[in-house]
Symmetry: C2
Subunit: 346 residues, 2 copies
C-alpha cells in the first residue's frame, strides 16, 4: 500500500499534504507523561523498547498525524560512544566527561563498536513496525554531527557554544576529527535503523545557527550531506530529510546542495524564501511557529497561508521546531486536521 507521507517525500502527487510534528511523542500528551513516569528516567525510557514503542505510536492514534517518529534522543550516539550522560532536572543533558582534546576523543568507541550497542533502538523500531497502521509512515532520526559535537564539547546545553566555536577557529583539525568520528557513527546508526524498519530518516541540526553562515558548510552541512549520500546510495527508496535549524542566510546565499529528498524549514525561515531557493530541488517540510499552537486562530492563519503558498504540493506540513510541552492536545489535533483538510486536492 502506498503511504502518503513517503509519496510526498518523493514529490509524487498525494490527495492531501501529509503532516507530522517534531517532538510529537512528548510531554503535551497525558498518555506520554503516564508512560514516562512508569519508565523511570528519560534515558530509561529511551532504552526500554516496549515503552519507547508505545510512546512512538501514541500521536498517530491520538493526534492523527500521517507519520510516526521514533521516540529516542539524539544523545544516545555519544552515550554509546562511551560518554557519561545524565539528564539533570531543569538543566537538560549533561556529559560529565566532555571532549576537549585528542586524548578525550580517542577514548570514544569507533562507529563499528558504537552502532551495535544501540540495539534497544532497533528493537523499538521492530516493535513499532509490527503495530503501526499500514497507511502511516515511520521516521527514524539522528542528530547532525555538528549538533552532537557541541554537546560533546560543551558538556551541556549552551546559549553561546563558546567552547565549540573557540575550537572551530583555534583548532579546526580537532573539531573535524570529532565531526568525522561522529559522522561515521551516525551513518551506521541510521543504516541499522533502516534495516530494522524505519521508512524515512531525518537528521536534526538543532544548533546549525550557532555557526556563522560562511563556515556552516565546512563544519556541518558537508557532513550531513555525506551521511545523506551514504544512505541514498544504499537505500534509494528511503527518503532522507535534513533539518538544519536557523540558517535562513545560508539558504538565501544559495549554499544548500546534496543528494537528499526533503529540506526541513524552521519557523525563522519564510517558507516563500525556501520555496524560491530550494523548492525545485527539494520537497519542503514545515514550518509553523510552534507557539501558534496555543491559539486556534493563529494556527488557522498560518496553515491557510502555507496551504495556499504550497498548493502545487512538494510540501509536508510540520511545525518549524518541536511542539511545546503545555500545548493543549485539542489544539494539536486541530492543527493536524486543518493541514490535512486545507491541502486536499480533489
Amino acid at each position: 500500500m502506498s503511504k502518503i507521507f513517503i509519496d510526498a517525500c518523493f514529490g509524487r502527487p498525494t490527495p492531501y499534504t501529509p503532516v507530522w510534528m517534531m517532538r510529537q511523542a512528548g510531554r503535551y500528551l497525558a498518555e506520554y507523561r503516564a508512560v514516562r513516569e512508569k519508565a523511570g528516567t528519560f534515558l530509561d525510557l529511551c532504552r526500554n523498547p516496549e515503552l519507547a514503542a508505545e510512546v512512538t505510536l501514541q500521536p498517530v492514534e491520538i493526534v492523527g498525524v500521517d507519520a510516526a517518529i521514533l521516540f529516542s534522543d539524539i544523545l544516545v550516539i555519544p552515550l554509546e560512544m562511551g560518554m557519561n550522560l545524565s539528564f539533570v532536572a531543569g538543566e537538560g543533558p549533561v556529559f560529565s566527561d566532555p571532549i576537549r582534546s585528542r586524548e578525550d576523543l580517542e577514548r570514544l568507541r569507533s562507529a563499528e563498536e558504537t552502532a551495535p550497542r544501540l540495539e534497544y533502538v532497533y528493537e523499538t523500531i521492530r516493535l513499532v513496525k509490527e503495530r503501526l497502521p499500514e497507511d502511516k509512515a515511520f521516521i527514524g532520526f539522528a542528530g547532525a554531527p555538528w549538533t552532537l559535537a557541541t554537546y560533546m564539547i560543551e558538556g551541556q546545553g549552551s546559549k553561546t557554544y563558546t567552547l565549540s566555536k573557540k575550537m572551530l577557529y583555534t583548532d579546526p583539525e580537532l573539531l573535524h576529527a570529532i565531526l568525522r568520528k561522529t559522522t561515521e557513527a551516525v551513518k551506521l546508526y541510521l543504516a541499522r535503523q533502516i534495516e530494522a524498519g524505519v521508512e524515512a530518516v531525518q537528521i536534526f541540526d538543532s544548533w546549525a545557527a550557532a555557526i556563522e553562515p560562511a563556515k556552516y558548510d565546512e563544519f556541518s552541512w558537508k557532513y550531513m550531506v555525506e551521511i545523506a549520500e551514504y544512505l541514498k546510495e544504499r537505500y534509494p527508496h528511503v527518503p532522507v530529510i535534513l533539518f538544519p535549524k536557523g540558517i535562513a542566510a545560508f539558504i538565501e546565499r544559495g549554499w544548500v546542495y546534496g543528494n537528499f529528498d526533503v529540506f526541513g524549514v524552521d519557523w525563522g525561515t519564510p517558507m516563500a524564501l525556501a520555496k524560491e531557493k530550494l523548492g525545485d530541488r527539494y520537497v519542503l517540510q514545515g514550518n509553523m511557529e510552534p507557539t501558534r499552537l496555543y491559539s486556534k486562530e493563529a494556527t488557522q492563519e498560518c496553515v491557510a497561508a502555507l496551504a495556499n503558498l504550497m498548493k502545487e504540493g512538494r510540501h509536508i506540513f510540520n511545525l518549524g521546531h518541536g511542539i511545546l510541552p503545555d500545548v493543549p492536545v485539542e489544539n494539536a489535533r486541530h492543527f493536524v486536521r486543518l493541514a490535512q483538510e486545507l491541502s486536499r486536492r480533489d
Copy 2:
C-alpha cells in the same frame, strides 16, 4: 573637530573605517573587573556615575576604539518603571514581579515619571563627556521595546520566550500595550541621553530572532522605527543605529524601512546580503563573529574580507554581537588596529 565615527554614520568620506565593539566596556578588561569589584553589584555599578564613567572610558584608551559606548544596562528602563530587578549570579537578570496582565502593566510608572529617575545615567554621560578625547565619539543606547518586553514578561532570560510569544498569539492587545508604554519610555530616555551629551544612539533588539519574520514588523520593528523617527525629528545631527539581532530572513524579504542612519548587522547575517539589500539606504555596522577574537588568524581573515567587501565605505567595523569575557585584550587590540589599517583610504 569632525569625528570619524559620526562622519561614517552619515556616510561621509573618512580616512579609514571606524571601529568599536559591542560590550567593549566589559569583563575581558582587567581594569573593568577591578572597578566592578569596587562598585558592589552590577546594578550598583550602573547607578554609580563616577565608576560607570570610568569603565565607559576604559576601552577607548586601552583598546583604541573610535567611539565610547555608555556603560549601563538595557534593563534600567523596566527597573525605573517600577519593576523589581536583581542580577542572580550564573542566571542573569531576574524580575520577581513579571508583567502578565493589564493590572501588572498599570502598576508601572509612565514614561514621564520614568525618564527623570534615570538621572544617574545622564550624570554618567556628563562625566564621560568631560573626559573623552575630542576625536572620539560617544554612543548612548537603549533596549528595543520587544527585547525589554520579553524580560518584563518572562521575568528572566529565556531560551524559548514561550510566555511572550504565547501572549503575541493569544493576547496581542496586551503585548502591544506593554510595547507602547515601553516605547514611550525609551523615547524620553534616549532624548535625555542626547541632551546630556551622547552623540549617537543605538537601539539593541537582542531578542529580535525570537519572533517569526512575518510578525517582526508588527511586534518590534515598527516600534524601533517610531523611536528612531522621534529622535531624528528632534536631533537630526545625532545618528541613530538600529541593531536587531538574528533577522537575516527579514532583511532578505526587503522588510527593513524607516528613517535612521546605521543598520547593525549581526554575525548570522552575511554582510554581502546586508549590502545588497540595505547598503544603498543605510550605513552598515558589523559584523565579525565574536568567537573569532580568540584567534588572530581568524580575525585577520574576517577583517580583510570585510574591508574588501566594504571598500567603498558606508561601513563601521564592529563585532556581530558582544565581545566575550575571556577574550585576550591583546586580541581585541589587534582587531581594532587591523580594522583601522586595512580600511585606510590614502
